[in-house]
Amino acid sequence: MSDKASGEGIGQPVRRKEDFRFITGNGHYTDDISRPHQTWTCFLRSPHAHARIKSIDTSAAEAAPGVVAVFTGKHVADDELGGLICGWTVTSKDGTPMKVGPHPILALDTVRYVGDHVAMVVAETLADARAAAELIDVDYEALPATISLATCQDETAAQVHPEAPRNTCFEWELGNKAETEAAFARADRVVKLDLTNNRLIPNAMEPRAAIGEFDKGSGIYTLHTTSQNPHVARLVLSAFVGVAPEHKLRVIAPDVGGGFGSKIFIYAEETACVWAAAKVGRPIKWTGDRSEAFLSDAHGRDHLSHAELALDKDGKFLGLRVKTIANLGAYLSTFSAAVPTYLYGTLLSGQYDLPAIHVEVDGVYTHTAPVDAYRGAGRPEATYLVERMVETAAREIGMDPAELRRRNYIRTFPHQTPVIMNYDAGDYEASLDAAMKAIDYAGFPARKSEAASRGKLRGIGMSSYIEACGLAPSAAVGSLGAGVGLWESAEVRVNPTGNVEVMTGSHSHGQGHETTFAQLVASRLGIPMEQVEIVHGDTDKVQFGMGTYGSRSGAVGMSAIVKALDKIETKAKKIAAHLMEAAVEDIAFENGTFTVRGTDKSLAWAELSLAAYTAHGFPSGEIEPGLKEGAFYDPTNFTFPAGCHICEVEIDPDTGITKIAKFVAVDDFGTVINPLIVEGQVHGGIAQGIGQALLEHGVYDAESGQLVTGSYMDYCMPRADDLPSFTLGFTKTESPSNPLGMKGCGEAGAIASPPAVINAITDALGIRDIEMPATPARVWSALQSAAPRAAAE
């Protein structure tokens, strides 16, 4: 292998290929695209959390300058368009399917959250569209709204959908109730905790945007949009919404500026743009502004839970019992039913040998924006619950939290948990040990007393997390209610000059696929990375793909590429054998050169590529011309990234300000292709997790249902100076479930860090619990009620 190639190989910290174009302003985001004769649109949104629409008068808007058309729910209904769907059906414990209220593209007679889409104005300019939208006269009859998660299932609570009595979409359970009850009956000790997992608003840097187009000649629709999974968008828009047949609809997701889950979903605005483009006969562009993003992007988390952990006298876990109420918002979003169920309940065993688990989850509707997957999706909620319970148990029985964890770690693999998952590999103690060493766990008491001498309260907390990534074996998810398979596809196209295009069904919106995927292909074919182009995000170019989320691009997306590369190598060897007049079995391929074993015959990659396309003298019928192979890869299992994060905080009791003094993350991601990118993913994830623990909170007014945190004036995003310098470490057990041994790293930071932070704060304050976000105000009031125990002054 050449020096260059080895410097770019698997495991090398190659700088991201895409960054130069992004930081020099040469990216192509949806808003950078303009189409000939393009119009602009804006959406009139509901100012009410819940109201009946008595009438809509659009006449003044239609007559306003520059207006091309105004559409309402009636037009959508007249065209018999389907509504937005949830692609995962959850079944309640009584066997009934979840109760789904319709989710129209534009509201028909009722609005169900502040920001719900009421009308669409298409105009020559955005200013014209906005001005006209203000002229639409909607006669609303305001109705009482259901906002509170705690009371939404009351008989007296306002109903979000008549289809779902008591605002309950499903009452789901998982695990073994009888065994769990038996475990609690013989327990020496039961630890109980009520926990809140705060609502988050995703805040990708690039707001959602779309351009819908219709070509009259061909009848083909095109949607340029900010999507994490353009093929799934096309499938939903054709098969369920019915905008256009699949072969007449092209979805392009160009450069996308972050998603964190929020761009997985098929939303009303994008759908309306492509639908209405045919009606007005011109392209329609919409770029959401930040205020719209706050109101209408799918939010994340938002659980209320009660949990009980049963232990024996030695601190061995016997059983876990959980009851969770999960907010789904006003409508089901694309994957929302799966998030608080199969992505949550299945992870409640954590890293522990927990013989009995029973979890009940009520998915409920409220008059708030839909809630769906957000970085980690269900797994942060599970990890938060398990790791808060374990830490609390350790404190209550007076055992060191690390020791309690050690006593309960799973040590043999594969391990079947009581909640579906079969863990295939891991070494949990290795990451605990490494994290404790990195943070100098033994030195903590000294640091605590030194802090106390300065009047500060210091605390330490850990989190031994596990997540299920590499979503997902199609048969497994199918049996659990998924409407899709979660395999991935890839196509490797070798050009006659020897460079390579790789079409992947994964989508990069910050993950760096163009770099890591190219590293894989280049090292396998022995060519420089710059000769590899990663193509993604266009349904016309890539055959099919399930997109990027659930840390699946490496474990599933790259595995599909490996499979396609295997086929390329097989075919190339066949051609090489023919050209060098040898038997296929005697052909070796290494560092970009084909050789015949035991001879000095060789053929360079570029020569072979050209020969594949000239095809001169190929024995007819035996070798087809060309060098292009595709593959579909369906994983055999989830992957299970795991690790240990430890956080140390220092609290100023005068103000309640929490400063993160140290943060250590030790992760086992299996094989790492590019450590630079992986570290970046961990940093970003921890920043978001600390954001959840200390700063971020999506809040609606309990009465009016107005979004109180509708801008950065009130929604607190983490800034650089809120965060310490992280100390990262890695341990490694390879995943046996995919050819590269990868596990996935995109969500770990956001999953692991919140309980570590809250465990540290509750340790510092000497209290059982504090709600996230642990703002200075909350910490201060906790101190007022906890005083004088915690007063260090």
Partner: protein, 265 residues
């Protein structure tokens, strides 16, 4: 944004004339508040008179026992001014702690106090330093200028020209930032000077910036952190929102006052 007529006069006189002629004009200075308001379609002025090009509003002059700062002076300029740092370091620190670098390089002193955001920093300095506000029409004492949330003594067409800050003997500003907006959740400006002792609080009050006479009296007797440590303000009249209760803000006033006195030395 709604449409408006835009002018960028070069002199104060021209600006006054334009303001006099227009139907429903708005002065534009650094635009850090006005532009977002316009973008969100929360204001619909007929005319926007941009005073950013008026050189006579952009100056810092130390004369005798005071510093005169032109209304058009940017926060960053105030923060970096050698004169301000020398004679009134607390004011330099305050200006340097407003928003972020982009905001500080656009936002102006005049815009800040004309806007009188209840969480803004400059009002605390004006009130805490017994500042004089000079407008195109008159001189207004800081005590008379701030009239409540987003309200000032300014009349239609009146432009702030400069603010005179007398030199303090001792002064300091302590700001507890709102975690999200980083405006002041509680900001306390303490000073000692020819005017006696002043304690001005921003961020906390429902009616904007206010003085705390109890603390002023205590500090006049004994200038020390301990003098204010025991003074608890009633929560009544203080802001309460998702970032903190009125009780918390009341508590923070004491903590920040104590720290400000300590910092002032």
């Amino acid at each position: 944004m709604y449409q408006f007529h835009y002018e960028r006069p070069k002199t104060l006189a021209d600006a006054e004339a334009l303001l006099g002629k227009a139907d429903d004009p708005k002065i534009l200075a650094g635009g850090q508040t006005l532009i977002p308001t316009l973008k969100q379609r929360l204001a619909m002025p007929s005319d926007v008179i941009d005073i950013g090009g008026i050189k006579e509003l952009d100056f810092i002059r130390a004369e005798g026992d005071a510093i005169m700062i032109g209304a058009g002076t940017r926060h960053a300029t105030v923060a970096q001014s050698a004169d301000v740092q020398k004679h009134n370091p607390a004011l330099a620190v305050l200006a340097g702690g407003i928003g972020d670098p982009a905001v500080r390089h656009m936002g102006t002193l005049g815009g800040s106090i004309a806007n009188n955001d209840p969480a803004a920093d400059y009002p605390a300095a004006c009130l805490g330093l017994d500042a004089k506000i000079h407008t195109t029409k008159r001189l207004i004492e800081a005590d008379e200028f701030f009239k409540g949330m987003f309200e000032t003594a300014l009349q239609d067409g009146e432009i702030i020209k400069e603010v005179t800050f007398p030199h303090p003997e001792k002064a300091a500003y302590m700001k507890f930032r709102n975690p999200a907006s980083r405006y002041a959740m509680v900001g306390v400006f303490v000073s000692k000077g020819p005017w006696g002792v002043r304690v001005a609080v921003t961020g906390a009050g429902q009616n904007g910036v206010f003085r705390v006479s109890e603390m002023e009296e205590a500090l006049a007797k004994s200038w020390s952190p301990d003098a204010v440590a025991g003074i608890k303000l009633p929560a009544k009249g203080l802001n309460a929102d998702l970032h903190g209760t009125a009780e918390y803000r009341a508590h923070l006033i004491t903590v920040m006052a104590k720290r400000a006195v300590a910092a002032a030395g």
